[in-house]
């Protein structure tokens, strides 16, 4: 089955060590750009109290939630350190800076 990749913009639209969000009918997705210029997408919803992860401070491949300082791995979506919990990671493709994400539920909706 072909994955439906949806263009969301260019990596240059996101500040280094920063994030922006993408609005979808299923909720907000946070798209991150690390210092090493890698991009990751995860749900914009901290597993702790639902804080907007896209507003946190980005360091290495992790983000610290602005509400209560949980640290979430951008690669796995899992909480790091002593905390337990995870957010959904979203498949992301980076073609020379052009970013695409794949959303299962969106594909369902499109059918």
């Amino acid at each position: 089955m072909d994955t439906n990749w949806i263009a969301i913009g260019n990596i240059a639209d996101i500040p280094l060590r920063g994030a922006r969000c993408v609005k979808t009918p299923q909720g907000r997705i946070a798209v991150f750009r690390t210092a090493e210029n890698e991009a990751f997408a995860i749900e914009d919803h901290c597993p702790h109290k639902g804080g907007p992860l896209s507003q946190g401070i980005v360091h290495a491949k992790a983000v610290t939630c602005p509400l209560h300082n949980w640290v979430i791995s951008l690669e796995t979506g899992k909480a790091l350190g002593a905390d337990e919990g995870a957010v959904k990671t979203i498949p992301l493709r980076n073609e020379d800076g052009a970013l695409f994400i794949a959303l299962e539920s969106l594909m369902m909706a499109a059918e």
């Binding site: 609005k23 979808t24 507003q55 401070i57 969106l106 909706a109």
Partner: protein, 816 residues
């Protein structure tokens, strides 16, 4: 009956001698000291760190005033002895004090050698000898102009590095072909020169100074070859001479120094001499280790032990310039009867050379990596035959006897009598036994009890390893709480190093201070960003990605991800048109909650992030700017109505509050800063629980600080009373700047004040007008860059990406 002991000079040698004497023969003498310098005994070898900014004067005091009082010692500060009458057994000071002695100790030290060239007495030509010299250099460095240091030896280079670190354009003139030629061979001298040049210090070797030129004050240096090097400051560091004039006039035997026997006694049976002014066995000394040895011997004799004798030993040399590792010991001249082992690693900038004679080390030069210096010193001292380990000797101790060892191995392997602290001659065994017998657990304890690492500090690493070795897990070297897991350094060290090493970006801090993570974490990055904003207001580019979301988008995030907005209301005063504008904004954006804050302004809660710029645009049209209710910075200045309205008011508290807020808004501080001004002691503005508060009284303005009314509740402390509004503003601003420069990130003013001491703050802000003015000026300078309304910037389009989604997807596609 107690005997009278008089000491001329109050440097490190007599200070140490007294410590020994008080231990060995307490109460035997009634001690009087005459110090030509107007201060207590301080650690002269730490002057370079003071110059570079890594330490301040208070940190290098060895004996504070209390020490003299505790031991019943009379200290005449600023008294220079002008005559010794050996027949009457008295000394007389330049202020006319005459004191009789049973025993006299001369410790007049040395005087810097002044080149006999024309112009050597021009204003702007100084030496490098005591704290006054350092202060003169610091003053000169403020101009950021050109300095010339004559002399490329130990002192000269430390002065040069310090001045360069303070922003001066520095040239070092050295008469020999390579730097530090008395301690280094040409190869190491070359590496050192390269390193200094890499730091922007110009080095001219084989430079013969012909004259110092200038009209009325120094303007430059003329060399024999005709070159003229411009300079507004000339530091002469070409050597020292024992200060023997007084002894000579008194008729004591004087050669190069005051001649003493191996018990430090002069040609007069009642007079001893020690320190740099003394000549023992035909040698005079300038490094601290042999001077301390003299102190030990002299103390023993004064305590009645005639067996102690001074024995010459070579002292290793180290350069106290941060980042330069250099070690030199013994004799390293070439010779037919000598062999050498050399290791070079060009890319790492490492050079090691051992000079051997009859299979024994007689000299060592290490550059770039000096950890094995203590071991080589030990081998040399004991004249160990090294033929067995010759193949691997140069690689150091860890490579002897088999495979790679853990980092502690070198310390484990050291014998008990191996010297760890060269300055104070403390060996491993003494440190270990002090730790176990006295139950020492901190580095400061070990310093206090053994003196190890208490002088130049370069053996601190070794001492800490010994503590780990002796105490195991019970020793926690990080008694200083590191900022976070990314570093072992605490906030204070990081702040000091940012200034000392002139680090001006977050990557530079992380690289130079060896951060353990690639780009920090949510704890250290905001702290570093604040320190850099505070220290380099004009040069540092604020890193918004290292700011907490509230400071990044200039609003307060709420639990549901919406934001609240608080416009500034100067001194809590508003009017109908402002209130109308707020009401219109509330209606237009359907803001769910409007709330009056504790800081006398209005909070609009529940605004969607995307709406923020539009909300600000409307508020801006009504004249509002950001209230910075989200900032680690100046928040509100709360006021009461004061003398304009209140029948009890003594001053215009509202006006002063507004004036303070207009002067100080926009400034970033280590933690939030809330202020208040009350018009009378009834204190309706609750100024006495604020970070900084003012209580107006008839006679002026009582300035308060260090209050708290949050997690902790604490009434303020009084800083002092000033007469005028202008003075009140100056004092408050200076206090704020002192706090900005010294506190740790997120440390409220009351915690900082507790840490540094209320008296110290009062001394600097109330008692020292020059310092207060300097703080004030630095605050004013930084405000030039800080007083930009962040809301109007964003209304004009700054950081657009923050307020818009990157994309909105799914809706359109789903419909198709």
């Amino acid at each position: 009956m107690t005997e009278k002991l008089v000491i001329i000079g109050n440097g490190m040698a007599p200070g140490r001698m007294l410590e020994h004497l008080l231990e060995k023969a307490p109460g035997r003498y009634e001690v009087t000291i005459f110090n030509a310098e107007p201060r207590v005994n301080y650690d002269r070898i730490m002057l370079s760190p003071v110059l570079s900014g890594e330490k301040d004067y208070e940190q290098i005091i060895i004996h504070g005033d209390g020490w003299y009082i505790k031991h019943g010692i009379t200290l005449y500060k600023g008294h220079r002895i002008v005559a010794i009458d050996r027949d009457a057994k008295t000394v007389t000071s330049d202020h006319g004090v005459t004191e009789s002695y049973d025993r006299l100790v001369i410790a007049t030290g040395s005087v810097p050698f002044i080149l006999p060239v024309p112009g050597n007495n021009l204003p702007g030509v100084i030496t490098y000898r005591d704290l006054d010299d350092v202060q003169a250099m610091l003053l000169a460095a403020q101009s950021r102009e050109k300095a010339v240091v004559i002399g490329g030896g130990l002192l000269g280079l430390e002065a040069a590095a310090g001045l360069a670190g303070r922003g001066m354009d520095v040239t070092v003139l050295h008469v020999m072909p390579t730097l530090m030629d008395r301690q280094l061979d040409p190869a190491a001298g070359y590496l050192l020169q390269k390193e200094l040049e890499g730091r922007g210090i110009k080095v001219v070797c084989k430079a013969n100074t012909k004259a110092i030129v200038g009209k009325g004050r120094v303007e430059g240096i003329e060399l024999e070859d005709g070159r003229v090097i411009p300079a507004t400051l000339v530091v002469m560091a070409v050597g020292i001479r024992p200060s023997v004039g007084l002894a000579k006039e008194a008729g004591l035997a004087v050669n190069r120094g005051i001649v003493v026997d191996h018990g430090m006694q002069t040609s007069d049976g009642s007079i001893w001499a020690l320190g740099e002014c003394a000549e023992v066995g035909g040698m005079v000394y300038g490094l601290v280790a042999p001077l301390y040895e003299m102190a030990r011997v002299a103390a023993a004799h004064l305590a009645g032990d005639p067996s102690a004798a001074f024995v010459h030993s070579d002292t290793p040399t180290k350069l106290k310039v941060t980042g330069i590792e250099l070690f030199s010991l013994g004799d390293f001249a070439d010779g037919d009867d000598r062999e050498e082992i050399v290791l070079r690693d060009a890319s790492a900038g490492v050079y090691k050379r051992l000079v051997l004679k009859d299979n024994r080390i007689i000299g060592t030069v290490l550059y770039g990596e000096t950890a094995d210096g203590a071991w080589f010193n030990d081998l040399k001292k004991k004249a160990t035959d090294i033929s067995e380990m010759r193949e691997t000797l140069i690689f150091g101790q860890a490579y002897q006897g088999g495979g790679p060892l853990d980092p502690m191995a070198a310390v484990v392997a050291l014998p008990d009598d191996a010297e760890i602290c060269g300055c104070n001659g403390v060996c491993k065994g003494r440190i270990v036994s002090a730790i176990t017998e006295k139950g020492l657990t901190s580095l400061d304890d070990v310093r206090a009890h053994t003196k190890a690492s208490a002088s130049c500090g370069s053996c601190t690493g070794l001492v800490e390893q010994l503590m780990t070795l002796t105490l195991g897990d019970a020793y926690n070297p990080a008694a200083v709480q590191p900022i976070c897991g990314c570093t072992d350094l605490g906030h204070d060290d990081v702040r000091r190093l940012i200034k000392a090493k002139k680090l001006k970006t977050i990557p530079a801090v992380m690289q130079e201070l060896e951060w353990k993570t690639s780009c920090g974490c949510a704890k250290c990055r905001p702290a570093l960003n604040y320190y850099l904003v505070c220290d380099w207001p004009d040069e540092y580019a604020d890193d918004y990605q290292s700011r907490f979301i509230n400071e990044r988008v200039h609003a307060n995030i709420q639990k549901d991800g919406t934001y609240s907005v608080v416009p500034r209301m100067w001194g809590g005063v508003t009017n109908a048109s402002e209130l109308r504008a707020i009401a219109d904004v509330v209606d237009k954006f359907e803001i769910p909650l409007v709330k009056v804050t504790g800081g006398q302004r209005i909070d609009l809660l529940g605004i969607e992030k995307e709406d923020l710029p539009a909300v600000w645009a409307d508020l801006g049209k009504a004249g509002f700017i950001s209230g910075q209710a989200y900032a680690k910075g100046l928040r509100t200045v709360k006021t009461c109505v004061g003398s304009d309205w209140c029948r009890f008011g003594t001053q215009d508290s509202t006006g002063l509050g507004i004036r303070i807020e207009k002067f100080m808004w926009g400034s970033w501080t280590p933690a939030k800063l809330k202020m208040a001004v009350s018009g009378c002691p009834r204190n309706c503005a609750e100024a006495t629980c604020k970070d900084i508060g003012v209580v107006c009284v008839d006679s002026g303005f009582e300035i308060h600080f260090a209050g708290a009314a949050g997690l902790d509740i604490k009434g303020t402390e009084v800083l002092g009373l000033v007469r005028t509004e202008d003075e009140a503003l100056e004092h408050i601003v200076a206090l704020t700047q002192m706090y900005r420069e010294q506190a740790r990130y997120l440390e409220r003013i009351y915690k900082w004040a507790k840490r540094v001491g209320l008296d110290e703050i009062r001394r600097q802000i109330m008692g020292d007008a020059d310092r207060r003015k300097a703080y004030f000026d630095r605050f004013v300078f930084s405000q030039k860059f800080a007083q930009v309304d962040p809301w109007s910037e964003r209304v004009s389009g700054k950081d657009k990406h923050e307020f818009r989604p990157m994309a909105t997807i799914g809706y359109g596609q789903a419909a198709e």
